[in-house]
């Protein structure tokens, strides 16, 4: 445990030093702020609940951005250190490979969580400061959105590690990471949508659709945020889907947890068998 914390602390220290944390937080805050103020323009001042609109815009942003950022910091975690030669030295110390992987995961997740909370939090706080009326339900939905964004980040950090232990070169890892991102964020939904259109509801039942969406962590995230709170669902354009898919929040959070632990455990197993 001590070793895990030591490695996590070093990971955070390095990211602070090379300004990764700063860049990531600034990026998320800038996008969140611009979405908050530009995005609410169409609804005008009569827009019932300002924060709900922000949740819809921000979670759509998260689906694209958080997986990308998470893969960016994680794809290089193992293969990069191996290539630079620092892994060889680290593993000659009294530390297991499982501890190395877990420590890096804790560190990377902490960085991502920090950036998300601070970046998105800035937007909400600014909104509240400008005098928008925000009720308790909206705050809960907002907190859920931040929490699930971090969970989505955890999924893609774990997937990034899996990529990182599977390849021999950093460039390969980067290529595969981009491929994974495209597949899960863009291609998967298009294929599902296409299938639904062609099928016209003949063979794909609601249950099958639910199962299909659980196969993609970004869709799990989308369901969790855009259909979860009733007030948010009305803005998101997801209410049709929400009626069809009957997955409770517990199942969705569980699915994200499985999506994190699965790749992480497989990555740890491959890494501990790997010969350097």
């Amino acid at each position: 445990m001590r070793n895990v914390l030591l490695i996590a602390a070093k990971e955070i220290q390095e990211s602070l030093r090379n300004r990764w944390v700063l860049a990531m937080t600034a990026l998320l805050a800038a996008l969140a702020l611009s979405l908050t103020f530009l995005g609410s323009a169409p609804t005008g001042t009569v827009g019932a609940r300002a924060l709900d609109v922000v949740i819809v815009s921000l979670s759509s942003l998260t689906i694209f951005l958080v997986p990308l950022v998470a893969l960016l910091i994680s794809h290089d975690a193992i293969v990069g250190e191996t290539e630079r030669g620092t892994m060889l030295l680290l593993l000659s110390y009294p530390v297991t490979r499982g501890q190395v992987l877990l420590g890096k995961f804790a560190g990377h997740l902490a960085i991502l969580a920090f950036a998300t909370v601070l970046g998105y939090g800035t937007a909400a706080v600014t909104l509240a400061a400008t005098g928008a009326a925000i009720d308790g339900e909206s705050w809960i939905a907002f907190a859920t959105m931040i929490g699930s964004s971090i969970l989505l980040g955890a999924v893609f950090i774990a997937i990034g590690y899996l990529v990182s232990v599977l390849v021999r070169e950093r460039a390969t890892a980067a290529g595969i990471a981009i491929g994974v991102w495209l597949l899960l964020v863009v291609v998967f939904d298009m294929v599902v949508l296409g299938a639904l259109v062609v099928d016209q509801g003949r063979t794909i039942s609601d249950a099958a659709l639910s199962g299909l969406l659980l196969l993609n962590p970004t869709d799990v995230y989308r369901l969790l945020n855009l259909t979860g709170a009733a007030s948010v669902g009305t803005f998101s354009g997801m209410s049709g889907l929400a009626g069809a898919v009957t997955l409770g929040p517990a199942v969705l959070v569980g699915a994200l947890a499985v999506w994190t632990l699965g790749p992480l455990v497989i990555a740890a197993m491959i890494f501990s068998r790997r010969e350097l």
Partner: protein
């Protein structure tokens, strides 16, 4: 007495390539051992096997009483390693990196000040490693290997990138550690440098251990001729040559110097006769076969 390192019939194959073939040796506390071999001979694989970074295909390896590739990581607390081309995260300072490694070994962080002094990095300790020269990184690498007074030090090509002054300091540190009972394994190409500083030499060639012993023992086995150089006054070359008459093959250098290749048994007789030549002889040097020559000899023997 239990050995610090005990390797029995270790073989490591990567696909069809045998990087290490049936190697066995044991190292005792307080030994300084040179691991000699050309590039690709299996030195680094052997060191990685000792570190548990790779597992032997066959045979067994015990380091400080533990299987290095097993679950136990306790033994690594008493082990120092300097990789062939050591590298660190360039964003951190030397002090930060050493503090991290000291904590990983559960050693007090205060100790790194002494280490930084010892390798001469005190003044650069708070600079980013990105600004360090190659020699400074190598010194930092040595400092991290010394954390926690290891009982076994594995140094892979430790003196590359160090200037001559620093090399001397480096060997002083190694001698100090040995006197404290640590076993030091040095792999190197610069054989002449190792010659006076190691008690034992392991020569590897194409994955095999082709020689193992003290330098003196290897010299006896190889039975390589020593060089006896005799300088004579001008014009005395022929006199001396006839005096030595057929005892050993020799070469003449710039008119007043002979060099004979003399086996151990011939050497004394040669010296006796040269001394008998009285005033004709100005100087006599006896040069034993160097580690370089021994190395070349064992490699030749190995090649078909």
């Amino acid at each position: 007495m239990t050995s610090l390192v005990d390797i029995r019939h270790a073989t490591k194959r990567y696909g069809a390539i045998e990087a290490v073939r049936d190697v066995s040796f044991a190292l005792q506390p307080g030994q300084t051992v040179a691991l000699v071999g050309h590039n690709g001979a299996g030195k680094t694989t052997l060191i990685k096997l000792m570190l548990g970074l790779v597992r032997p295909t066959e045979g067994s390896i015990r380091i400080l009483g533990e299987d290095p590739a097993g679950r136990g990581i306790e033994a690594r607390r008493r082990l120092g390693y300097l990789p062939e081309s050591v590298s660190f995260n360039t964003a951190l300072t030397g002090r930060e990196v050493l503090a991290f490694y000291a904590r990983l070994k559960s050693e007090p962080v205060d100790g790194i000040k002494t280490l930084l002094d010892r390798v001469g990095l005190s003044s650069a300790a708070d600079r980013r490693i990105g600004t360090y020269s190659k020699g400074m990184r190598q010194r930092l690498g040595l400092a991290q290997a010394l954390i926690g007074n290891p009982r076994l030090l594995l140094l892979d090509e430790p003196t590359t990138g160090l200037d001559p002054g620093l090399r001397m300091e480096f060997y002083d540190i190694v001698a100090e550690l040995r006197d404290r009972g640590a076993t030091v394994v040095l792999s190197s190409h610069v054989l002449t440098e190792l010659e006076e500083r190691t008690e034992r030499v392991l020569i590897v060639s194409r994955g095999r251990l082709v020689a193992d012993g003290t330098i003196d023992a290897l010299r006896r086995i190889a039975d390589l001729p020593a060089k006896v150089r005799v300088s004579v006054v001008d014009g005395a070359v022929e006199t001396l040559r006839s005096l030595m008459g057929g005892l050993a093959a020799g070469r003449t250098f710039n008119g007043h110097r002979f060099e004979f290749d003399a086996t151990a048994s011939q050497k004394i007789e040669l010296l006796r006769r040269a001394a008998g030549a009285g005033d004709l002889v100005e100087d006599i040097d006896v040069i034993p076969p160097s580690l370089d020559e021994l190395y070349a000899h064992f490699l030749r023997k190995e090649s078909p």
